[in-house]
């Protein structure tokens, strides 16, 4: 059961090759790992996530240029 796995602290499997695929996907996977922290107090909040994504977009644009 998914519920049991989640309660036990297990998260979904992410293929590590996505991190090497592109900078954007690498950043997204970083964010996913931050949102999937078990303790809600340690988990990233939505405002930090927005800031993180904005920063990532900025950096991505810089790289493509």
């Amino acid at each position: 059961m998914v519920q049991k796995k989640l309660i036990d602290g297990e998260t979904a499997y992410i293929d590590p090759r996505y991190k090497e695929r592109s900078f954007a996907e690498k950043k997204l996977i970083e964010l996913v790992e931050k949102t999937w922290i078990y303790d809600p107090d340690e988990r990233i909040n939505m405002f930090d996530a927005v800031a993180f994504l904005k920063q990532a977009i900025k950096e991505n644009e810089m790289r493509t240029r």
């Binding site: 309660i7 695929r21 997204l28 078990y38 939505m46 405002f47 994504l53 991505n60």
Partner: protein, 668 residues
């Protein structure tokens, strides 16, 4: 008969002229005779003449005499006559004994007697009635209550409390002594000593020492009077009726406790300095003139302080209460007399501290209106006047069924195209591909979206209960209050169980996760053997951009000025594309919660959601723990995962209840 007795009385005992024999004879003869003759004979001394005349007369009278008919004789006669008649009746043979034909002649006497007694009864009744209700003056004076009698006699009662002169006192003393002999005067004196004051409500209230006075109405009727829904639970305590004697008005309040008439609760304003004095912070407690500086008094005061310092409530300098962790649940309930505040026995994460959770103001100060619904013409065809005269089938109605969710149906309501002739010309010129399942429908909806609304109506098969009504209302409240955010769907109207929202026609979930979204891990590995091939067609930059849009809309909810809103049901299908494909909009606030504020600890109250299904929820929700807005963040991570891979998380796992369906239906 009476006349004979008179004769005997007037007769002298001894007759001086005549002998005893004569006299005896006379008496015997006279016994049956009439009176007048006897008296005449008796006057003279002619004994010889009188005895010869009288006996002959008397015998003749006896024979002629007719027996007087008395009452009982009459009754017997009547009865006998009846019986004989009945026996001799000719109808006896005809009808038998039991079925006698009633003869009218017989009942005449009975009728007369009945009438007589009836008249007597009625007359007595009328007379009695008149006697009672229109009494004479004498009867009133005797029957009246002694306290009221002096008014009837126009006598002013003497006031015993008035100051009297010595002369008056002496006079009164004398008269009292004199009057004690008479019983009537005793009564009168008692009456005069009575003082009947005018009933003063203000004085009465003051005597009760409660202003305003409270009356408990705990009855059956009052409990029902405040129930609106048949299934409504009684959330308040006993209803209290406040009588404000100053203004003379009545006002109903549903209060939990009697003591909360005002927020500012003053301590007891006793002159006793030893009572409840906790320094200068207490209003009215510090009075330098009344402080007893003797050692015993100070010791007693300190003892009282020791007792009172640990107990709550404590007061600030302005008289308001200070609430701490040690504040009782009962004290909280009494302090917060507000329907928007929930007093709960345990605080966040099940700590054994009572808490008072207050709803933010926008959660209950919303007054829905049905105006937008009435503006729509639901019964008429919006069309060219020519088409109304000759209606075409495709233009018959502009209210079309679109989709349905679990609870609600969705209808597209189009406004008349003739209002915007310029835009209407462009409507049928567009043909695009969106990567959606139903391309035709989206292509039809997109050009009409500017003049149409989505009407969500509650399905009849579900109970129209207060819980569902609250869900719909909550969605309306959130959409209404978030109108300033462009990333959240707009609300146009809310009426009972139905809402009217803007049309955001393009699906987004179908683009993120095309197909079912569940695959075996082996097939996924085979697909990714020669380099990663996600299931959707997004570029990496697009993924980043859409993730930001989703995050922003959620951040709008979490960072709302008036209070945190938790979406609570974050999944890709809740976002839709606007017709120009420039923005994602978040909708569907069915499960949303507006977080409440803990007044004691000054933090947000966590909430519980009950059992959770589907595999996109946070672990604390499955574990049924206290939740806050961070559950949205977890589910947002799931969305990014789906965008990266084009699959659901836990790829091989089909959940027991998959709430994330593949169509637009789940939005509504």
């Amino acid at each position: 008969m009476n006349s004979d007795h008179q004769l005997h009385d007037t007769e002298p005992l001894e007759n001086p002229n005549g002998g005893g024999l004569h006299h005896r004879d006379n008496v015997t003869i006279r016994s049956g005779s009439a009176g007048s003759n006897g008296s005449l004979n008796h006057n003279g001394n002619n004994h010889s003449s009188s005895p010869h005349g009288t006996p002959t007369r008397s015998t003749t009278n006896n024979k002629r005499k007719i027996k007087k008919v008395g009452f009982w004789d009459r009754v017997n006669h009547h009865y006998l006559r009846r019986t004989t008649r009945s026996i001799n009746n000719s109808n006896y043979a005809k009808y038998g004994k039991k079925k006698q034909k009633p003869s009218r002649h017989n009942d005449n006497d009975k009728l007369q007697t009945c009438l007589f007694w009836g008249v007597v009864c009625i007359a007595s009744f009328v007379f009695g009635f008149a006697w009672k209700h229109f009494p004479t003056t004498t009867s009133v004076g005797n029957n009246m209550h002694p306290q009221l009698r002096h008014t009837a006699d126009n006598k002013v009662p003497s006031n015993p409390y008035a100051k009297l002169n010595e002369q008056q006192k002496q006079h009164q003393h004398k008269t009292q002594n004199y009057n004690t002999n008479n019983s009537y005067n005793k009564q009168q004196q008692a009456i005069n000593s009575l003082v009947i004051p005018r009933f003063d409500t203000r004085q009465y209230m003051n005597s009760k020492k409660q202003l305003p006075q409270s009356v408990l109405l705990d009855g059956w009727n009052h409990a029902f009077a405040f129930r609106s829904f048949p299934y409504a639970k009684q959330t308040h305590g006993p209803i209290i009726k406040n009588i404000d004697s100053d203004y003379g008005g009545l006002s109903y309040h549903s209060l939990r406790n009697e003591e909360v008439f005002a927020r500012v609760i003053l301590p007891n304003a006793d002159n006793d300095t030893n009572s409840l004095s906790d320094g200068d912070n207490v209003i009215g407690a510090f009075d330098p003139d009344n402080i007893d500086t003797t050692s015993t008094a100070l010791r007693a005061r300190n003892r009282k302080r020791k007792r009172t310092t640990g107990s709550y409530p404590q007061y600030k300098s302005d008289g308001t209460k200070i609430l701490n962790d040690a504040t009782n649940q009962a004290e909280l309930t009494s302090y917060y007399d507000d329907d928007s505040v929930n007093i709960l026995p345990k605080s966040n994460d099940y700590k054994k501290i009572p808490r008072a959770c207050k709803k933010p103001e926008f959660a209950y100060n919303y007054f829905p209106s049905c105006n937008a619904f009435h503006e729509h013409n639901l019964g008429r065809v919006y069309d060219n006047p020519a088409d109304i005269v000759h209606p075409r089938p495709e233009h018959e109605t502009y209210k079309k069924y679109l989709a349905h969710g679990f609870y609600r149906d969705v209808w597209i309501m189009e406004d008349s195209p003739w209002i915007w002739p310029q835009q209407y010309k462009k409507e049928y010129t567009q043909t695009q591909t969106f990567g959606v399942e139903d391309e035709k429908r989206t292509n039809e909806m997109i050009p009409k979206a500017y003049r149409s609304t989505a009407l969500k109506t509650f399905q009849m098969k579900h109970p129209f209960s207060d819980e569902h009504w609250e869900e719909v209302q909550l969605e309306a409240i959130i959409m209404e209050s978030m109108t300033k955010s462009p990333r959240i769907m707009n609300l146009y109207g809310h009426c009972g169980f139905s809402t009217m929202v803007e049309v955001v026609p393009i699906e987004f979930e179908e683009v993120i996760v095309p197909g079912e979204g569940y695959q075996d891990p082996d097939t996924v590995e085979q697909r990714n053997k020669n380099g990663l091939r996600p299931y959707n067609d997004f570029t990496a930059d697009e993924k980043l951009g859409y993730a930001l849009e989703m995050a922003e809309s959620l951040a709008d909810l979490h960072g709302f000025d008036l209070g945190v809103i938790v979406h609570d049901d974050v999944q890709p299908c809740q976002w839709l594309h606007t017709p120009d494909r420039k923005m994602l909009k978040l909708g569907d606030f069915n499960r949303a919660t507006i977080m409440q504020w803990d007044m004691v600890k000054n933090e947000y109250c966590k909430f519980n959601n009950g059992p959770a299904f589907a595999n996109y929820r946070a672990p604390e929700e499955f574990a049924a723990r206290n939740l806050n807005e961070q559950i949205d963040t977890w589910s947002f991570g799931n969305n990014i995962y789906a965008m990266i891979t084009g699959l659901w998380n836990f790829v091989s796992m089909h959940c027991v209840v998959v709430l994330s369906s593949m169509s637009m239906d789940s939005v509504f």
